[in-house]
């Protein structure tokens, strides 16, 4: 029986590249594609894929929160997170969310097949930097160095994180309500709870929070050639 893979990335060009790469493996098939985390969660429910590949920076529901939702639904889901950055915070969030694979997009052409093969054998796959972090965490018994510390912030519920992403993407309370099947009043209540919990006073503050916490990602302008890698598209 073929290994069934669900691929989620908001950029069709990237999905094409990923699917072509994976379809070259004759024992694998792409059972579905999704353009954001919300669609990925829905399709996973319907299609029951063996492996789910999720981009981190997707609209409506990002890949990390989609991973959290998927792994809460079914702890056996095998999720590979694709990301443009391997900062400590993203790695930690991906692992905490339940991802079993972590691949940099810039290395996907090289590492993705190996990652899927590893998950197929019920193993995990991480980039060398993630492996180092996991090992360091094991040796330190979970302690991190001060430079790696992520500021302690009040915990948001999964629903509140979804609302943060949608507001940070510019959606109104009415649009948030419609996307999440809530009443407008409930969406507004979530919004004010979030602002209170986080001690934020404006939408601008909320957008900054969402960027800092990898809930949304921003497109950088041209002229940033000194960075090692540009955003994927």
């Amino acid at each position: 029986m073929k290994l069934r893979i669900l691929v989620a990335d908001d950029h069709e060009l990237v999905r094409r590249g990923l699917c072509t790469l994976l379809q070259a493996h004759e024992d694998w098939e792409i059972c579905g594609e999704a353009v954001d985390g919300r669609e990925a969660v829905e399709k996973a429910k319907q299609l029951k894929p063996d492996v789910i590949i999720l981009d981190v920076g997707m609209p409506n529901l990002n890949g990390l929160d989609a991973t959290r939702q998927l792994c809460r639904q079914n702890a056996h889901y095998k999720v590979i997170v694709l990301t443009i950055t391997d900062t400590d915070q993203v790695i930690r969030e991906a692992l905490d969310a339940g991802a079993r694979g972590f691949v940099l997009k810039s290395d996907a052409a090289r590492d993705l097949v190996a990652a899927v093969e590893a998950l197929q054998r019920n193993r995990m796959f991480f980039t060398p930097r993630v492996n180092d972090m996991v090992l360091a965490g094991f040796l330190d018994k979970g302690q991190t160095t001060s430079t790696n510390m992520v500021p302690e912030l009040p915990k948001l519920t999964p629903r509140e994180r979804e609302v943060v992403q949608l507001i940070a993407e510019g959606k109104s309370s009415k649009e948030v309500a419609s996307l999440l099947n809530l009443s407008t009043k409930t969406a507004e209540t979530h919004r004010s709870n979030i602002m209170r919990k986080l001690g934020l006073h404006s939408i601008r503050d909320l957008v900054v929070y969402a960027i800092k916490n990898n809930i949304i990602q921003v497109q950088l302008p041209v002229g940033t050639e000194t960075r090692p890698q540009s955003p994927i598209v």
């Binding site: 908001d10 950029h11 069709e12 060009l13 990237v14 999905r15 094409r16 590249g17 990923l18 072509t20 790469l21 997009k105 810039s106 996907a108 052409a109 090289r110 993705l112 497109q219 950088l220 041209v222 002229g223 940033t224 050639e225 000194t226 960075r227 090692p228 890698q229 540009s230 955003p231 994927i232 598209v233």
Partner: protein, 138 residues
């Protein structure tokens, strides 16, 4: 006799180059002869290989696509440039055309627009479409 269009694909992300090549397979008269992962490599390969058309990303390390476009148009003027970028902006499109590009496609629409763009640009026709439908033939 149908002439083959020789294409150079320049993007810093291998998976995107993969996606672009997959789309280009759609026409048997097109041949991807080389790839480049930044502007410097694109300029060097353009000078050496004289492709008919170059697909250039804008945001690349070492040298961005606009600068690469200017240099390629100067050193290999017969080679047409198609910019394929995430920047859905009229200003960026104008800069690309000023740099000598013949076409401009937004990456999020590449699956829809790339083939038409390559067909037009390879025949020295201008092709520009932005995502937000401020589309214009220039």
């Amino acid at each position: 006799m149908t002439m083959t269009v020789r294409i150079l694909v320049a993007d810093d992300h291998p998976i995107v180059r993969h996606g672009l090549k997959t789309l280009l397979v759609g026409d048997p008269t097109w041949e991807v002869i080389a790839e480049a992962e930044d502007g410097v490599e694109a300029v060097e390969k353009a000078s050496r290989l004289h492709p008919d058309l170059i697909i250039l990303d804008v945001t690349m390390p070492r040298m961005n696509g606009l600068e690469a476009c200017r240099r390629i148009r100067k050193s290999v003027p017969e080679c047409e440039v198609l910019i394929v970028t995430q920047h859905d902006s009229p200003q960026m499109m104008r800069e690309a055309l000023d740099a000598g590009a013949r076409g401009y496609v937004v990456k999020s629409n590449a699956a829809r627009d790339l083939l038409a763009a390559v067909a037009a640009v390879s025949q020295h026709k201008t092709f520009t479409i932005l995502d937000h439908r401020a589309a214009s033939k220039v």
